[in-house]
Symmetry: C2
Subunit: 491 residues, 2 copies
């Protein structure tokens, strides 16, 4: 089969083309040229037909025709009757070394925003703000009280700074999951914990069961290990027990990956009953479980969540839990952890050494001082986020009354359903109005949820005002074009 | 072929057994038991014959006999005439999930020290001390001057904090390698830079050319990617040109990995002439080069090194350079970098996102403030390290006159040759005297350099006194046993 024969494959490679200044056809031609020089498109690769690409990009067919024409003139593209438009097969480009993207992955486009740095766009890819004031407080305390001690040793603690392992263990015990320090590995954010667990549990070709929708950054970690993703749908209490039971029975997965406490992107809280049921199911089938509670220390609607999934594990079950201070304190601190059996933590520590030897010491010392104050931090932060959620809720009802969403139980984003249109196409229009939208299809390994988008509400009220204003203008423009039908693209 | 039929395979799995209290045979039996429960040894694995293991461990045959006997009594081992001693094939142990070790790797034993945390041993695995005083200075300045600005944004900078990329570029330009900020990726130590480059350049089965000896932590990164290691020997100016030319011609490697500025473990400085010649060779053969200058900002004998290898690259050559503040400032800061063409840095940034999204912000801000003062920091640090080198040099001449070493050009360790004995065996005796020795064979992918060991001189004088005292006592004991001949073990 040809590489890149559909618009679904090509659109993610075009990045923020629509947000660039100048005529649209020029921007599109520029984006295709960059994709070739970047190695994302290779000589001989087929491009989508003009009409289909135009529809997906939310532009007129004339724009795509003009872009292709310009590139044919420059020798980058060739078109032939019957075989469509291709990157010129004899084009001389730098031999395509690996370009760092994950084959089949959907997160690079999102993270490229971070790599490129800030622009005029309001990016919905990053639901994160500045640090809580307590971080500066503990930094001043640390400088005052125990800097000399801290800087005296060699600074390499692959398992984590002992004081932080103690503090994390105490924190987890407080959430209803009794934990000893040696059951904790400190990682560079929960994300690195996910990477290390993946390295330990997933050989190429292994099956990992994930909820759908899901966060693309996590899915790409599994994909990069060559794992096969099998999805289970969510209902109001968490992953469907019937679907999960069938998958565990039939697919013998190597890992079950779940986000019980404020699932990303739906904001769903898994019920206590469901936790018990799923922990039992996994144990019966002997499948290790990785629960990702990175969003646990975020906004919470009820202020009260059941204990982590691992607290429901029957004897002999293998459960690992990820956590992080990124949501409660600051992303720039990069402090996360894996909690699991001490012997598994030892093995993960070996992978940690292989990845980066150890995490920085200062940030760990700050985290150790912050964790005992977490409840107080969360009370303030959660109140603020609840007000922001109320605010965007009101704005959307007023300005975008045809959009639908369920009020999340916690987390930092709304999971919005657009009325019967493809969010990938809307994202292209939104980019022209200065909003970087993450469409639902990027969050579903099966390519479903195409009418959804993830809408973070963690921004300050004035940014939320501007965000919804831009979305509403983009939506009006999109509707004028005639909404693109929500056809599921089969690749 | 049987797994673990030789002592060379088994000894690294035994860890610090010889340093544990109690009778030696009990310690050995305990270490074997732990290796089984840890998954490092599996049911059915064959153990070395008693006499051979005893010789390699530097203990009497009776010790090994007693240990095996105890384990047979407990059902862990079985022995049969003709097929030797094995882990009981029907032993019920936890299904051996991946244990985090690198197949064929030699670094886990070294790093396990860091994972286990400090003990009574003087570990020669870690040539690192506390932070330079300037780190506390810049931290106080940062808290005073620009904490609010720093904590205001979302904190995710996959390429690196912009101010730090600028500072690293200025630093490299100052070493004779003109560099722009977008040619710099910030990493968690030089080690993570090595991991990211490995991910981008080395597919399973690819060949990477390395100097021999080499640092096991780096070799294990290549091994974990499934790469094949091909070695080139060193002469007084650097890697042998004749050997390198032959390897590049015959093996078409995917990467050439070199440590030009204070090679680890030999402390060799590659001459300017050799740099030019090797850069040309690599360009002629179209082989990308990764130079690891993590030891560049360490002790330097002459105070003056040629510019980095990349400064000698002919047009079109692909050169990447690793650097770090671990040696000059502190390992606990975990700030390193990769310098390369901007487009490669972009690709590496994508792998950085996949690894841990971004490095912590505070440490990066500190590094940005430290780099402009690096020359002043190095002047002091290098003077101190020169005095320590003089000190250990004198101690060794006096206490261990049969040992041989070349005075290093820089770095933090001596590369010592023992008089015709196997350093693996001596390491076992040294452990009983409280020194953790890294033997040369762990640093040579071909299993050579078996008479060598790496001896860090970065410790304070009183630790160096105690270190050499313990080594001298261990050496006396070792010589009493009759030195073990330096037989190259063929696996």
């Amino acid at each position: 089969m040809d590489r890149f024969s559909t618009e679904r494959d090509v659109v993610p490679l075009l990045g923020d083309w629509a947000a660039r200044p100048g005529p649209l056809y020029r921007s599109l031609a520029g984006a295709l040229t960059r994709a070739v020089h970047d190695g994302a498109l290779a000589p001989g690769d087929r491009l989508p037909a003009e009409r289909r690409l135009a529809r997906t990009l939310g532009v007129s067919r004339a724009t795509v025709v003009a872009a292709y024409e310009e590139l044919r003139g420059g020798g980058l593209l060739v078109s032939r009757q019957g075989s469509g438009t291709r990157i010129a097969p004899d084009l001389r480009v730098r031999p395509p070394a690996a370009d760092g993207r994950v084959p089949g992955g959907t997160a690079t486009t999102i993270f490229q925003r971070l790599i490129d740095g800030p622009g005029e766009l309001i990016s919905m890819a990053v639901a994160a703000g500045g640090a809580v004031p307590q971080l500066a407080d503990v930094l001043r305390e640390l400088v005052r009280d125990d800097l000399d001690d801290l800087l005296a040793d060699h600074g390499y603690h692959p398992g984590g700074l002992p004081a932080l392992r103690v503090a994390i263990a105490a924190h987890l015990t407080g959430t209803g999951l009794p934990t000893a320090p040696e059951e904790v590995l400190v990682t560079t954010g929960a994300h690195q914990g996910l990477v290390l667990v993946t390295q330990l549990y997933l050989a190429p070709g292994a099956t990992v069961v994930v909820e759908s929708p899901n966060w693309p950054g996590c899915l790409d970690v599994f994909r990069s290990a060559g794992a096969r993703l099998v999805t289970v749908p969510l209902d109001d209490e968490g992953p469907s027990v019937a679907a999960l039971g069938a998958v565990l029975r039939e697919r013998a997965p190597a890992l079950l990956y779940l986000m019980p406490t404020y699932h990303n992107p739906t904001g769903l809280l898994m019920s206590a009953t469901r936790r018990r049921r799923i922990a039992e199911l996994a144990a019966v089938h002997g499948v290790p479980v990785l629960e990702d509670n990175a969003s646990m220390t975020y906004h919470s609607e009820s202020g009260d969540a059941p204990p982590p999934l691992a607290a429901y594990a029957p004897p002999g079950a293998e459960m690992l839990s990820l956590g992080s201070l990124a949501k409660a304190v600051w992303g720039g601190l990069r402090i996360g952890w894996v909690r699991g059996p001490a012997e598994i933590v030892q093995r993960l520590a070996r992978r940690k050494v292989l990845a980066d030897i150890a995490s920085p010491v200062l940030d760990q010392a700050l985290a150790a001082r912050l964790l005992p104050r977490l409840e107080e931090i969360l009370a303030v932060r959660s109140g603020e986020l609840r007000r922001r959620l109320d605010h965007i809720d009101g704005l959307l009802r007023e300005r975008l009354p045809s959009w639908r969403w369920r009020r999340p139980d916690g987390g930092g984003a709304l999971w919005v359903e657009l009325p019967g249109v493809n969010a990938v196409a809307f994202a292209q229009v939104a980019a022209r109005y200065g909003v970087d939208v993450v469409p639902g299809a990027a969050m579903d390994p099966d390519g479903g949820h195409h009418s959804h988008l993830r809408l973070p509400y963690t921004f300050p009220p004035e940014t939320l005002d501007e965000l919804v204003h831009r979305l509403a203008r983009a939506w009006a423009e999109f509707e004028r074009h005639g909404p693109v039908p929500a056809v599921r693209v089969i690749v």
